[in-house]
Amino acid sequence: MFLIAPVVLMATVSFRADLSGDLLAPFSPTLKQYQQAFAGEGYWRLLGISALTAFGVAAIATIAAYPVAYFLAFRAGRRAALYLILLLVPFWTSYLLRVMAWKLMLGSEGVVNSVLIAAGVIQAPLDALLYNRGAVIVTLIYVWIPFAALPILAGLGRIDVRLHEAAADLYAGPYDQFRRVTLPLSLPGVVAAFFMVFIPTVGEYVTPLLVGGTGGTMYGNIIQDFFTRAANWPIGAALSVIMLTATLALVIVGLRLVDPRRLLAR
């Protein structure tokens, strides 16, 4: 109810000429906003950049999380639960503060610069570490790695250990076992992890706000801007509709690649 109604209403607002008067009052629809949103090359570019950023973040976080999940599924033994909690604690700490922590890491007087200066690698602090797209990407990868490990772990946990034994019986070395048994069977979990990172990252506006500076802006930031500073709700709504449509389309593609029910069932 509270999801469908606002989305429908948002879609209607995106067709309004302006915001004068009652929001529920009838109005003559206009495509002005969409013309503006479609014509503005900057919007498309930013949507593309946001999608690319999210793609990169999701891909790297998933790849980085895979060995962690593999360790938890097959190597951690009796302490697996403890190791899992250890992995998830960072995820349960304040999101804003974790992003802030990266500001402290990458800032001109931050950890990375201090270490490099102390080691004599550089003389003056590097300013280029913070307030750009690279900083946004690094921070987001950091934020999502623990989360990405969960669906992969669920996928790996469903693999019958006897398959490994069978593979070993057939003289498959560790590498062949992994490549021909484990990896193919874990792919649904991998795809799920990718999308679980990708979707929230596309709509991200908080991290770019904190560590992105002017060069690291994402699509979510212009939407946020139109609803706050610029106070042009109709075009903000139109951009939101475009973003929602794009995300839903991607999710539908994702659901065709992997059936989420296969991860839930035991």
Partner: protein, 264 residues
């Protein structure tokens, strides 16, 4: 040589344990740095460190606006997590125990908030509240948090209910219990651990949520919104970091309790 055992099959990739610990190290490094600055005597968050102090922790309790914001977050988290848990549990019972037309559609609808970008949900709700003439308050934030927490609570309770034998309910009804009594005496006790962990999940989701709250909180900020507003002022940062460390410890405590209950 004997038949290769599972143990032998697992022997490959010794490097993987090292990789796990490397990742853990990387994940904890920024948090460790935050902690270091929360006990560092200097106002600015730069190296070299100035010496040890617990003064920032003491100033947490003497900052009324901060405590007020934390109180707000608690109100929102309690209200939204209770609502999301009750709704999610009911939805889970309906989805797991009844066959009806549109069940797949209802499941999809319940999961939909997972795939709607937060910024889109935030502006959509903002428009709705304005159209309905509802002024922004902790109430509007709570509603948004119920929407985003509902998929989690539903899934957690659903996973538990699916794992149990439906014949337990049939038996209860055969023995003369009404459906309500069956819910109270059979389904609720079965689902109880999952309901508790669903509630705690919803609570932590809400307590830390910023992207929606920034749009919907109005003039009375929740803790993340307050924190965001204060990030500009360098001199209050160590206090905020100290607060976050305290909250982190509290959250961790809650989750350990949740995990212990769930494992019963």
């Amino acid at each position: 040589m004997a038949t290769p055992t599972a143990r032998q099959a697992r022997r490959g990739f010794p490097i993987i344990r090292g990789y796990y610990w490397l990742m853990i190290g990387l994940l904890y490094l920024p948090i460790a740095i935050l902690f270091v600055f929360s006990v560092n005597a200097n106002t600015t968050l730069t190296f070299p460190l100035k010496g040890f102090t617990l003064g920032w922790y003491a100033r947490v309790v003497s900052t009324p606006a901060l405590l007020h914001a934390i109180g707000n977050s608690l109100i929102v988290a309690v209200a939204s997590s209770l609502a999301a848990t009750i709704l999610g549990s009911m939805l889970a019972v309906v989805l797991s125990r009844f066959e009806f037309r549109g069940r797949g559609a209802l499941t999809g609808l319940a999961m939909l908030p997972l795939i709607v970008p937060y910024v889109v949900l935030a502006v959509a709700l903002l428009i709705l509240f304005r159209a309905a003439g509802i002024s922004l308050s902790l109430m509007t934030v709570s509603i948004a948090h119920v929407v985003v927490a509902l998929p989690y609570t539903t899934l957690i309770v659903l996973a538990r209910l699916i794992g149990f034998d439906r014949q337990l309910e049939d038996a209860s009804m055969d023995l003369g219990a009404s459906y309500l009594a069956t819910i109270r005496l059979v389904i609720l006790p079965i689902a109880a651990p999952a309901i508790v962990s669903a509630w705690l999940t919803a609570f932590t989701v809400s307590f830390d949520e910023f992207a929606l709250a920034l749009f919907l909180a109005g003039r009375d900020p929740t803790f993340p919104v307050y924190l965001y507003g204060q990030l500009r002022f360098a001199q209050t940062l160590p206090i905020l970091i100290a607060t976050a460390v305290l909250l982190m410890a509290a959250t961790l405590g809650l989750l350990v309790i949740a995990e212990t209950i769930r494992r019963r």
